[in-house]
């Protein structure tokens, strides 16, 4: 039988826990009677802007749409945008500014894998602040599980490495595989996962080479790859170096099939590579291609072109813009589901209720009480001889 003092202590503990939970449930930071303040954090300048600009453009279009439709339960979304200049230190400072000074409700971003990785301790410490990433693919921010950190869009790199290895071995039936990966968080993580998975399945890579994001000549890597006589070459890197690698590989007489990771799925890729792009496959995490005729994608392309005519002249919307918009629509859906009595915890619970939520732009998003990775699949596209892109019927699924 419990003593009275123990009983009292137990009741007090439960009360405290309960009040703590209620306190976080009622955390309405950034929620005003007629507006919701949302921080948008991404790389708008510097080498990582290749995807970061899409984080902002996507948020602007999706949030403008919600505002034009009368807001979310009567509240307009107000954006506070911060450019992290592609540097982790500025990203961390920007996040702190959004949370501590601007007192935003939630943060949409960051956009780059190497930035997200560096921000992991900050995101962990800010456990009350919902953070939704729409473009970066590093698992470093969301693994191990964090209650407040959600990720949607591309299949994350650990799982993507596994999915690519399975696709290569089981569908393409290639066992002599070479890897050329970027030396930063993005390429390192995906490359390591692919290597590990191949090993698990009893296969060693015949060559594994690395390159820096700003490298311009890849002859050395490709001569080593060529000497290993692979059936298939996986390029895990960003668009500009990956395009050069693809072209140089063919110039050096490498006949292996080439498969690029998700970051190489930009629209100008085949034209940048030239005729050597024909037959190359790239992983992509979109439901349809922006240059295609899918009605929902076309509706978005028109919205984008109307909102950003200057950017439309740059062959956009491209991958980053599409993923940014996809994530922002998921964000808006979470706000809608959270109801009129909006709180941070309510928003997190609302996001957890998303099951196969389709935007028509990215692949469906599913979250849950113990799931923060919104998308566990990817598609494969193939460049045609006329250098157009075609989505194949292949679907990669994470087995991680």
């Amino acid at each position: 039988m419990l003593k009275r003092r123990e009983l009292a202590a137990g009741v007090a503990t439960i009360a405290l826990l309960g009040s703590g939970r209620r306190a976080s449930a009622e955390d309405m930071t950034g929620v005003m009677p007629s507006s919701i303040k949302v921080g948008v954090l991404g790389s708008l300048t510097g080498v990582q802007a290749v995807f970061g600009q899409g984080n902002l453009s996507g948020a602007q279009i999706a949030f403008d749409e919600a505002n034009a439709a009368g807001g979310i339960h009567g509240r307009r979304i107000e954006i506070v945008s911060i450019d992290d200049e592609s540097t982790p230190a500025r990203s961390i400072a920007g996040f702190r500014r959004l949370v501590d000074d601007e007192k935003v409700f939630a943060v949409f971003g960051p956009s780059a894998s190497s930035i997200a990785q560096a921000m992991e301790p900050v995101l962990r410490a800010a456990s009350a602040v919902p953070v939704l990433g729409s473009i970066y693919s590093s698992p470093a921010a969301s693994e191990p599980f964090k209650h407040n950190v959600f990720r949607t869009g591309p299949l994350q790199d650990r799982l993507q490495g596994i999915a690519i290895a399975d696709f290569v071995l089981e569908t393409l039936k290639s066992t002599k595989v070479a890897l050329v990966s970027q030396s930063d968080e993005y390429g390192r993580r995906g490359g390591a996962s692919l290597t590990e998975r191949m090993k698990e399945k009893g296969h060693q890579l015949v060559a594994a080479e690395v390159f820096n994001l700003t490298d311009t000549d890849f002859t050395a890597q490709l001569l080593r790859v060529r000497a290993a006589e692979p059936e298939l070459l996986v390029i895990y890197g960003f668009p500009a170096p990956a395009a050069t690698i693809t072209r140089q590989a063919r110039q050096l007489g490498l006949t292996a099939k080439i498969l690029g990771s998700n970051a190489t799925a930009n629209r100008t890729y085949p034209a940048t590579v030239g005729p050597a792009a024909a037959g190359v496959m790239n992983v992509i995490s979109l439901a349809a291609l922006p240059e295609g005729d899918d009605p929902r994608m076309q509706a978005y392309v028109q919205k984008f072109s109307a909102r950003f005519p200057d950017l439309a002249r740059q062959n956009r919307p491209d991958l980053g813009d599409c993923l940014g918009y996809n994530g922002a629509v998921v964000f808006v859906e979470g706000l809608k589901r959270a109801g009129a009595a909006l709180s941070r915890e309510g928003f997190i619970r609302a996001l957890e209720s998303l099951k196969d939520f389709e935007t028509g732009i990215g692949l469906p998003t599913t979250f849950g009480p113990q799931r923060r990775e919104g998308n566990l699949a990817a598609r494969v596209l193939e460049f045609q001889p006329d250098l157009t892109r075609k989505l194949t019927s292949f679907m990669l699924h994470s087995a991680g």
């Binding site: 300048t45 510097g46 080498v47 802007a49 290749v50 995807f51 970061g52 600009q53 030396s183 080479e209 690395v210 390159f211 820096n212 994001l213 700003t214 311009t216 000549d217 002859t219 050395a220 890597q221 001569l223 080593r224 000497a227 668009p239 500009a240 170096p241 395009a243 050069t244 072209r247 063919r250 110039q251 050096l252 007489g253 930009n266 629209r267 100008t268 890729y269 034209a271 940048t272 030239g274 005729p275 050597a276 200057d310 950017l311 002249r313 740059q314 062959n315 956009r316 491209d318």
Partner: protein, 288 residues
Amino acid sequence: MLGQILVSGITAGAVYALVALGFVVLHRGTRIVHFGLGDQLTLSAYLVVIGQVYLDLPFAAAVALSLLLSAGFGVLVERAIMRPLRASPLLVMVIATLAIGAAIREGLRASMGPLPWPIPFLLTPAPFTLGGLVLVPANLAVVGVAAVVVLALFLALRFTRFGRAIVAVYENPTGAAIVGISVPAVHARLWGLASVLAAIAGIMVAPLITLSPDMGSIGIKGFAAAVLGGFNSLPGAIAGGVLLGVVETAAGVYISSAMKDVVSYALLIGCVLLLPHGLFGRAEARKV
């Protein structure tokens, strides 16, 4: 394998050599190391794209426009930024050139987007095989154009009034001024000339190394090649570029791709320590 390494290394090296020439041409006359030169390569290549896509110009006209605007840009930089700073400490001028580079890079990113742009090759990128070596006409064009540019530059410096004025300023600015050469005007010409060299390099290499706002990072390789060559020697810049290209490729193949840059920069540091005037540089006597 060795033959292919040499071919590929010389191709990469020709690009570095062209960039290195720009550094040396400018530095010999003005004593300024222009750290934004790599980004000027990018700007010139983008000017071709702008001419083609936005002004509907044919490729040759777009290239001509780019060369002209690049020369003008170089002169403008000298007049508007470097001339007012000529009495400033070296560090201020270095920061100014870095700022010029950053402004070009981020300006291009904002106006032309962060993603790569397709740009035509001067010759086909489809390879052919000769004696077991894979040769690419587009790459050979870079080597050929680099050779022609170097030859033209040497002839211009030796046989034209424009070039002789530059050489006079190279050798002795005070003496040149005494005999009536306008040193500031020569400086402006040097900025224009270095910018045209950068433009040629940029337009040649953009389709090979993929045109994006960050293409200018190749400038650091050109700088390393110039240092290897002695920084004041035009033949040295060429030799430095080719040496760097070959060493880099050989290190990547025979050691590891992760160590490629480590070996290249170790060579650079070794050269600075053991041969402070580079492979072709001369020690300069300074009267005190």
